[in-house]
C-alpha cells in the first residue's frame, strides 16, 4: 500500500533540519516520537483492511443472492464491477468524462475559494460591506446549490458554465462563512503589532489576516470541496453533456448496473483524492500550528476518580 507518507515523514524531517543539537531540548524532542514510529504502518494496514472487508462483504452478499428484506439478487457483484471498470479504463470516453468533471470542479472550487475568502474577509472587517452584502448572502445561503439549475439555465449561455456556476455556489458558502468566523476570531494583538511597525491595511491583510485565519478557513475549504462534488455530479446528471455524473445517469437509463457502479466508484475515488489534496495542502500551510507532542492518555478526570 503506497499510502501518502506525509504524516510519517514530518517529524523525522523536522528533527533532521535542526542545524545543531543544542542542549537537551532537541534530544528530548527526538526521543518523543519513537513510540509513534510503528503506528502509521499499523494504521495504513487497518485502513486497507477496512476497504477490503467492505468489498468482501459486497461480493459475498451478491454471490449468494442474499434476500433478507434487502435484496441483492439483481445487484452487480464486486467482480462484475471490477471487470466493467477494467473495460472502461481502456476507453477514451471514460477519461474524457473524468477530465470534464475534474475541470468543472476545479474551476468552480478555485473560484469559490478565492471569492469566498475575499468576501468573508471583507464582511468580517468592514461593517459597511457586512451591511451591504450580508442580507443578500444570508438569503441565498439556505438555497441548495442544485436548486439553482433553473437559474443557471436561464443565465448562462452554455451548460458548461452553468455547471461550473453551481459547483462554485456550493463551495462558496462554506468557505465564506468559515473565513468570516476565522477573521473575526483573530487576536487583535497581531494586527496592532503590525500597525505599530508602520504597516498599512494591505500589509495587515497579507501578513496577519490571511495566515492567521487560514487554519479556520481550511475547515471551510474541506467542506467546500466535498459539497462541490455532490453538486457537480448532480448538475451533470440533470443538465449535463458528458462528465462522470452524466455517464452514470446514462448507464442507469439503459439499465447497465455495473456501469452505474463504475461511475459511483469513480466519484468516490476522485472525491477522496481531491479532499486529501486539500487536507495535505492545508497541513503544509499551517505547519506552524503548535501540536501536542505527547500522545499519552489524559489523566482520569476528577469525576471518575471520585466515584465510589
Amino acid at each position: 500500500m503506497s499510502a501518502p507518507t506525509g504524516p510519517m515523514s514530518a517529524p523525522t524531517s523536522s528533527v533532521r533540519s535542526r542545524p545543531a543539537p543544542d542542549a537537551s531540548g532537541a534530544g528530548a524532542r527526538a526521543a518523543a516520537p519513537r513510540p509513534l514510529r510503528r503506528r502509521p504502518w499499523v494504521r495504513h494496514t487497518l485502513r486497507a483492511g477496512s476497504l477490503l472487508a467492505a468489498l468482501g462483504l459486497w461480493q459475498l452478499l451478491t454471490a449468494l443472492d442474499v434476500n433478507l428484506w434487502l435484496r441483492f439478487a439483481q445487484f452487480p457483484s464486486a467482480t462484475d464491477v471490477v471487470r466493467e471498470f477494467a473495460d472502461r479504463l481502456g476507453t477514451g470516453a471514460y477519461w474524457q468524462d473524468l477530465t470534464d468533471s475534474l475541470s468543472r470542479i476545479l474551476t468552480g472550487f478555485v473560484l469559490a475559494a478565492v471569492l469566498g475568502m475575499a468576501v468573508g474577509t471583507a464582511i468580517a472587517r468592514s461593517p459597511l460591506v457586512s451591511d451591504l452584502l450580508g442580507p443578500v448572502l444570508e438569503v441565498c445561503r439556505p438555497i441548495p446549490a442544485i436548486a439553482l439549475v433553473p437559474v443557471a439555465i436561464l443565465m448562462f449561455p452554455s451548460n458548461e458554465q452553468g455547471i461550473v456556476f453551481i459547483t462554485f455556489t456550493a463551495a462558496f458558502f462554506p468557505v465564506m462563512v468559515s473565513t468570516r468566523h476565522a477573521v473575526r476570531a483573530l487576536a487583535p494583538v497581531w494586527e496592532e503589532a503590525v500597525l505599530t511597525m508602520g504597516g498599512g491595511r494591505g500589509r495587515v491583510l497579507v501578513s496577519v489576516v490571511l495566515p492567521g485565519a487560514l487554519p479556520g478557513i481550511l475547515g471551510g475549504l474541506s467542506v467546500g470541496i466535498g459539497v462541490s462534488w455532490i453538486c457537480v455530479i448532480s448538475a451533470e446528471m440533470i443538465s449535463g453533456a458528458y462528465g462522470v455524473g452524466y455517464r452514470t445517469w446514462q448507464d442507469y437509463t439503459i439499465v447497465d448496473y455495473p456501469g452505474v457502479f463504475v461511475g459511483m466508484t469513480t466519484i468516490g475515488v476522485l472525491g477522496w483524492l481531491t479532499s486529501t489534496a486539500v487536507e495535505l495542502a492545508g497541513r503544509r500551510l499551517t505547519r506552524w500550528l503548535p501540536r501536542t507532542e505527547t500522545t499519552g492518555r489524559p489523566a482520569p478526570t476528577r469525576k471518575e476518580a471520585a466515584t465510589p
Binding site: 497581531w190 496592532e192 503589532a193 503590525v194 505599530t196 511597525m197 508602520g198 504597516g199 495566515p211
Partner: protein, 269 residues
C-alpha cells in the same frame, strides 16, 4: 539627564559590536496636555499632563486598571485621545507609526513566522532589501542572545525568549520611541532580572525615548530616569526623579529607599 548621557557614551565604548550606534536617530519628545484617555464612552484617565523629553526613560507605575496600558496605546496611536492634546515633537499623534515601537505584555510575535522572520518584519514593511533585512535581523537576534534560535517558531521557545525576540523586533527598525507595556510581567523573577539587564544594555546603543509601564515598583525605580505615578491618591500624572537610574547596587541607597516609600504610599499600596 546628565547621568543618562554619561551611561550612553560609556556603553558605546564598552560594546564595540553595537551596530550603527552613531546613526541611531534621536529620540522624540512625547507630550500629553490635559488629555482624556480611554475607549469612547469609557474614559479611564482625565486631565493628564505628562512630558517625556527626547532620550529619556520614563517608567509608569500604578495599580491595575488605572490606565497604564491605555496611556501606551494612545501614545502608540492605536487609540485616539478623547480630549486634550497628545503630541510627538509638537505634532498630534493620530495613527500608529514606525517611529513609535510598541512591545506588548502578551505574546505578540506572529506564530507562523520564525523568530528571524518576525524580527525582519518591520524592515520588510519599510522596504529594506531582503539581504540587508536578514543581516540586521540576525545581528539583533544575536544581541538578545537568540542567535541559535533564529530559525525556530515562537511556540518552540520559552516565554523569556519570546519577549527577547519582541525586543529585537521592536528595536531593529531603529524607532525613535519605544513603548513597553509590562513586557516582563509574565516572567519569573530570575528571568525578569536578566531581561532588565538586557534591556539596559540594548537601550544604551539607541537614543530612543522610552516609556516603560510596569506594576513592579522596584523595576520602575531601577530602569527609569524618572517615574510617573498613575491612579492612586492624586489621580495621576505626578513625575518623580529617580536618584540612581540603572544602578543595581543603588537598590538600598537611602534616596532610593525614600523614593520607594513615597511611591508606594502615594499609590496606596
Amino acid at each position: 539627564m546628565s547621568t543618562s548621557d554619561v551611561t550612553t557614551t560609556s556603553a558605546t565604548s564598552a560594546t564595540p559590536a553595537t551596530p550603527a550606534t552613531e546613526a541611531a536617530p534621536p529620540g522624540v519628545r512625547l507630550r500629553l496636555e490635559d488629555a482624556a484617555l480611554g475607549r469612547p464612552g469609557a474614559p479611564v484617565l482625565h486631565g493628564l499632563d505628562l512630558e517625556v523629553p527626547p532620550g529619556d526613560i520614563l517608567t509608569v507605575v500604578g495599580p491595575s486598571g488605572c490606565g497604564k496600558s491605555t496611556l501606551l496605546r494612545t501614545l502608540a496611536g492605536l487609540l485616539p485621545a478623547l480630549g486634550g492634546r497628545v503630541t510627538q515633537d509638537g505634532t498630534a499623534i493620530t495613527r500608529p507609526h514606525a517611529d513609535r515601537a510598541l512591545i506588548f505584555q502578551e505574546d505578540a510575535l506572529l506564530p507562523w513566522r520564525t523568530l528571524r522572520a518576525n524580527v525582519e518584519l518591520p524592515l520588510a514593511i519599510r522596504g529594506v532589501p531582503r539581504a540587508e533585512r536578514r543581516g540586521r535581523a540576525e545581528a539583533w537576534l544575536e544581541r538578545v542572545g537568540l542567535a541559535e534560535h533564529s530559525g525556530r517558531l515562537p511556540h518552540l521557545v520559552s516565554g523569556g525568549q519570546r519577549q527577547r525576540a519582541q525586543l529585537a523586533r521592536a528595536l531593529v527598525g531603529e524607532p525613535r520611541a519605544v513603548l513597553m507595556d509590562e513586557p516582563f510581567g509574565a516572567l519569573d523573577a530570575q528571568t525578569r532580572a536578566g531581561m532588565q539587564r538586557l534591556l539596559v544594555q540594548v537601550l544604551q546603543g539607541t537614543r530612543a525615548t522610552v516609556v516603560f509601564v510596569t506594576h513592579d515598583v522596584d523595576e520602575a525605580l531601577f530602569l527609569g530616569d524618572r517615574v510617573a505615578l498613575l491612579g492612586g491618591a492624586e489621580g495621576g500624572g505626578r513625575v518623580l526623579d529617580i536618584p540612581h537610574p540603572r544602578e543595581r547596587a543603588a537598590h538600598d541607597a537611602a534616596a532610593t529607599v525614600a523614593l520607594r516609600r513615597q511611591v508606594l504610599e502615594s499609590l496606596g499600596m
